[in-house]
Symmetry: C2
Subunit: 229 residues, 2 copies
Amino acid sequence: MASAAAASERSRVRRAPARADYERDTIDAILDEALVAHLGFTVDRQPYVIPTLHARVGDQVYVHGASSSRMVTMLGAGIAACLTVTLVDGLVLARSAFHHSMNYRSVVVLGHARYVEGPEEREVALEAFTERLIPGRWAEVRPPRRQELKGTRVLALSLTEASAKVRTGDPVDDEEDHALDVWAGVLPLTVVPGAPIPDARLRDGLEPSATVTGWTVERGRRRRAPGLP
Amino acid sequence: MASAAAASERSRVRRAPARADYERDTIDAILDEALVAHLGFTVDRQPYVIPTLHARVGDQVYVHGASSSRMVTMLGAGIAACLTVTLVDGLVLARSAFHHSMNYRSVVVLGHARYVEGPEEREVALEAFTERLIPGRWAEVRPPRRQELKGTRVLALSLTEASAKVRTGDPVDDEEDHALDVWAGVLPLTVVPGAPIPDARLRDGLEPSATVTGWTVERGRRRRAPGLP
């Protein structure tokens, strides 16, 4: 867990390298908290960036999709991929327009995806897709049927080439701007759940479990579902 | 504003085409609400997906960066780009693991970026970067100096090839699963601001303006700053 991912020449953070972090603990926590990943791949020289659900288990990040999807078939054929997640933590409000920024945590993973073929690893990945959205849910719902699994392909990307980038704290203003009559600081942002909205066809008498009502965005970061490292 | 972006073969939504939307009003609203974009470009066959601040003005999406950054120099040299934004609106909690999903709104823009060279368009873009983060802030802070502008390149991507994809509403469960004793529905998610955190060097007596204390994530969607279409 604490081992650093290799900072290859390709995965080295180029802009603002002081914000770079190659520690696996940092990388894992960001991947686990992010609800959506942006997956990049190139077809006929045109890059595509597609939002997708991801789930990290140990040293692997899993994504999935219909067997017939272009993203799945292209990545399964071995073309290079880039998976990026970004958490926006706050607006950084400086005294000058130029120094406005955001506090964020992001991870970039480079590599080649592989199809997950073994039934055991597939099962672990599929559980992780549900558990990373809402920890505890897997045990409460109907597990996948064989024909459901058949139509879905799972792809794995290794965390071998991964880097994190993190900005925290106050704005960095020019020295002379501190004299200006402008409030400066950070407006923190959080993802917050509203009241659960029951399905239109929900049976009478069913209430959302603590798994649903206790959901917070931070839970994913600390999630350690049974069987997951 | 209401004109549809062309659904080119490349920008046509392939997965779940019923969720596709090529209306500019939909595309604009999603781009304007998203705080961060994921920008894809390819170098030596390796795609890179980099989180970046974006701002839409009319038919253009602007991004910016240091003149020396690889993203900026590669995109400025005319390679193909893909800019994607995604808003997560809720967790879709089905009665089966397989039908779990997310409610989201996303936009994918394909094209080739161009450097913004004209001082007038540059000024409009730079104002938009501040205003799209926090509407009203531009008028409250020190405007950019000439040397600040010199070190920053602005790139524009046209909305000619753009598509939106939107999922809303209830889970879609298998018919027989409605009989299960499982709560199903949607857990809505929103980005919410916390209390503003003053800069460590803030001068005594300065309070955050209504621009800061009144910030909501939806404001960007309806934002029409002076001079912006």
